[in-house]
């Protein structure tokens, strides 16, 4: 669009890609989010110093914080997102449920009011008993599975409330929670929306996000394999009706649960762009981020409503995390010593990770959103499988082997999934490794590891046999560390190796 970009960064993000790609970059504090990315004052200050016209809040941290949107507005900055009022209304899960109900859209049974930090345990227990077990505790300000707990029986309620509040407080700065009935094996289906400042609201073809681990989406796809054109019309119509009823603008997503009989219930709204937006972009060709900016500028949403409801092919996204799937998905922060991302036709890799990137302990461990497009679901899965086979990381563990395994599961291939499917499946396999290389693979690994060691040592021997000096023209034999390096090993490590190998 020809716009300049200004980045902000916490201490541990000084070297990150968003800083390097920006025209200007401003330091806003130390690595803990509360001291930097959640500091509205510092963010607004940086924007004003830079002379920026507008602020894009991304999809984490303060992206759904009405205080931040209001602070931008009050400072004369355009906030690229909904109005503070819309965020406050739809960002509160309980208020959003009321809005949906009033717009005539069914909602999942649950508490009408949030429980603040001072709510009495007894009051919560009474509400829980009324709704019935099993139930879900959810953070009012939540998202991404954070601050969410399943409670099977009354005795687990207090502990679960405490844990959900603590997570919600840390992640969103708001410990308020609410309670909702847990449907039996529902699917999670959601509708992307765009709304302009002139009253036009456009719903997009739905996304299917039922594959979740501990309430966190791990694979998203579009269209949903189980949504018929008739159901799509109802679902997207309902989503647009809620958005229109509250005068919603810019990008947002209405989440629904779809039960086994094809009935859907409004679940909550994300008043921001979502992690999984690339797959919608792939099947519609619409650049959602560009449209967010155009809408914020006051442009009219002139997309063809029928076209954005008619998917061209099928797209899938895998969220690749710095977690060790063979150790119960334990976070695996650290330095990425080598990375070969996936590429190729109809593959999109939205990632900030590179060789040398330090994955910090402070933030969400998402390192790549890998998306694949196909003319149909089978082709999209085949391309994703190929892309995952290409994806190689050293230094940290990632969920890539888990995805390779998951894409081969018969229930996934048959698209016969619900929101608890993955957790049940993982429980059954009891920590069995996700990948089992064969004898041939071992033999190849042994030989190549030995060749690498030999080559490294050979280079050191070569050195020992040769004399070097400055050339006659003052030229020094010199190899820079390079932006991508093939050979060569740190001198002192080589030396150590030689001595070790003697």
């Amino acid at each position: 669009m020809g716009l300049g970009a200004v980045a902000v960064y916490s201490n541990c993000d000084r070297a990150s890609r968003h800083v390097r790609m920006a025209d200007e970059a401003y330091a806003i504090g130390s690595s803990a989010p509360a001291d930097s990315y959640l500091r509205i004052d510092r963010l607004v200050d940086a924007a004003l110093k830079s002379g920026a016209d507008a602020v894009h809040p991304g999809y984490g941290f303060l992206a759904e914080n009405e205080g931040f949107a209001a602070a931008c507005r009050d400072a004369g900055l355009t906030f690229i997102g909904p109005t503070p009022d819309a965020i406050a209304l739809m960002g509160s899960k309980t208020a959003a449920r009321r809005a949906a109900f009033q717009a005539g859209v069914p909602v999942v049974p649950g508490t009408e009011e949030p429980f603040g930090p001072d709510a009495a345990e007894a009051a919560i227990a009474t509400a829980a008993a009324r709704i019935g077990y099993p139930l879900l505790i959810k953070a009012v300000a939540g998202g991404g599975g954070k601050g969410m707990r399943v409670v099977a029986a009354p005795e687990d309620l207090p502990g679960a409330i405490r844990a959900a509040r603590s997570e919600a407080g840390a992640a969103f700065g708001d410990p308020a929670v609410y309670i909702e009935r847990r449907l039996v094996r529902p699917r999670h289906v959601e509708v992307q929306l765009l709304g302009d400042l002139h009253g036009t609201v456009l719903p997009f073809v739905e996304r299917e996000c039922s594959i979740q681990r501990r309430h966190q989406k791990v694979i998203e796809e579009t269209p949903s394999p189980v949504v018929s054109p008739a159901l799509r019309a109802q679902l997207t119509g309902a989503a647009a009706a809620v958005a229109r009823s509250v005068g919603y603008t810019n990008a947002g997503t209405m989440e629904f649960l779809l039960d086994q009989d094809g009935r859907f219930y409004f679940l909550e709204m994300n008043t921001r762009l979502q992690v999984e937006h690339p797959i919608t972009e792939m099947v519609t060709g619409v650049d959602l981020v560009t449209w967010q900016i155009r809408i914020a500028r006051g442009e009219r949403l002139d997309l063809d409503p029928a076209a954005v409801l008619t998917p061209s092919g099928h797209a899938i996204e895998c969220r690749i995390y710095a977690e060790d799937p063979d150790a119960g998905f334990m976070p695996s922060p650290g330095r990425i010593t080598a990375l070969r991302p996936a590429a190729g036709p109809w593959i999109r890799d939205d990632s900030g990770a590179e060789t040398g990137t330090e994955v910090p302990i402070f933030y969400d461990p998402l390192i790549s959103k890998l998306s694949a497009w196909g003319a149909d679901r089978a082709q999209a899965i085949a391309r994703m499988t190929r892309a995952l086979d290409e994806y190689q990381v050293a230094g940290i563990r990632t969920t890539v082997p888990f995805f390779r395994w998951l894409l081969r599961q018969p229930a996934f291939e048959a698209a016969a999934c619900h929101t608890a499917y993955l957790d049940e499946l993982l429980q059954q396999r009891q920590g069995e490794p996700f990948e089992s290389p064969g004898e041939d693979d071992e033999a190849a690994a042994v030989v190549v590891a030995a060749l690498e060691a030999f080559e490294g040592a050979a280079a050191v021997r070569l050195k020992a046999d040769t004399t070097y000096r400055e050339g006659p023209d003052g030229h020094v034999a010199y190899v820079a560390s390079g932006f991508s390096r093939t050979r060569g090993t740190a001198a002192w490590k080589r030396r150590a190796r030689l001595e070790g190998l003697r």
């Binding site: 080598a338 050293a394 190849a444 030999f454 190998l501």
Partner: protein, 172 residues
């Protein structure tokens, strides 16, 4: 040159020599024909006409991540004899893990921040009782007692940043 190469719990002794750009490799005494060339940042291996792409990355801690046609294997290369010495030391009891009867350390499984310490020195704990909550990457992880016992030592306080494998609590 001879190396010990450990993969999937098994150590092989590998001898490598090269002449005129061709490698001679002997694995556990058996010579192998290896058509291997470095291909940019990876290796191309032809075993007969079967083509394999193998890449090697540093996995930290002396380990290697070796990808064979995309499948990851953890490999450790040492000078010949190194694996034997390490195994011998393991047998003589130099390792971290103690027997089931002795004191038992509960360590941090990953770097993170201690959100809460749930026990104090001298307290009795049941098996699987929560001891410490560590937060990393916005998720809380409760570390539990591996067996019933008494808390002999608590080595962290709330708010502390801990490294992977740091001992947090000792149970006896």
């Amino acid at each position: 040159m001879t190396f010990d190469v450990e993969v999937a719990g098994r150590t092989r002794t590998v001898e490598v020599a090269s002449a005129d750009g061709v490698y001679r490799v002997v694995v556990d005494g058996r010579p192998r024909t290896v058509d291997a060339v470095r291909a940019g940042a990876t290796w191309s291996l032809l075993v007969g006409v079967r083509s394999r792409e193998v890449s090697v990355g540093d996995d930290g801690d002396g380990g290697l991540a070796v990808y064979v046609d995309g499948r990851r294997l953890a490999v450790r290369v040492t000078a010949a004899g190194g694996a034997r010495r390490r195994a011998a030391r393991r047998r003589s009891g130099g390792e971290h893990a103690a027997s089931a009867a002795g004191p038992m350390s509960v360590g941090a499984p990953m770097p993170g921040r201690v959100v809460a310490v749930l026990v104090a020195v001298g307290e009795s704990v049941a098996a699987r009782q929560g001891l410490v909550i560590v937060e990393a990457m916005k998720m809380e992880n409760e570390l539990r007692a591996p067996r019933a016992g008494r808390v002999a030592d608590v080595r962290v306080m709330q708010g502390a940043l801990v490294d992977a494998k740091a001992v947090l609590v000792v149970i006896e």
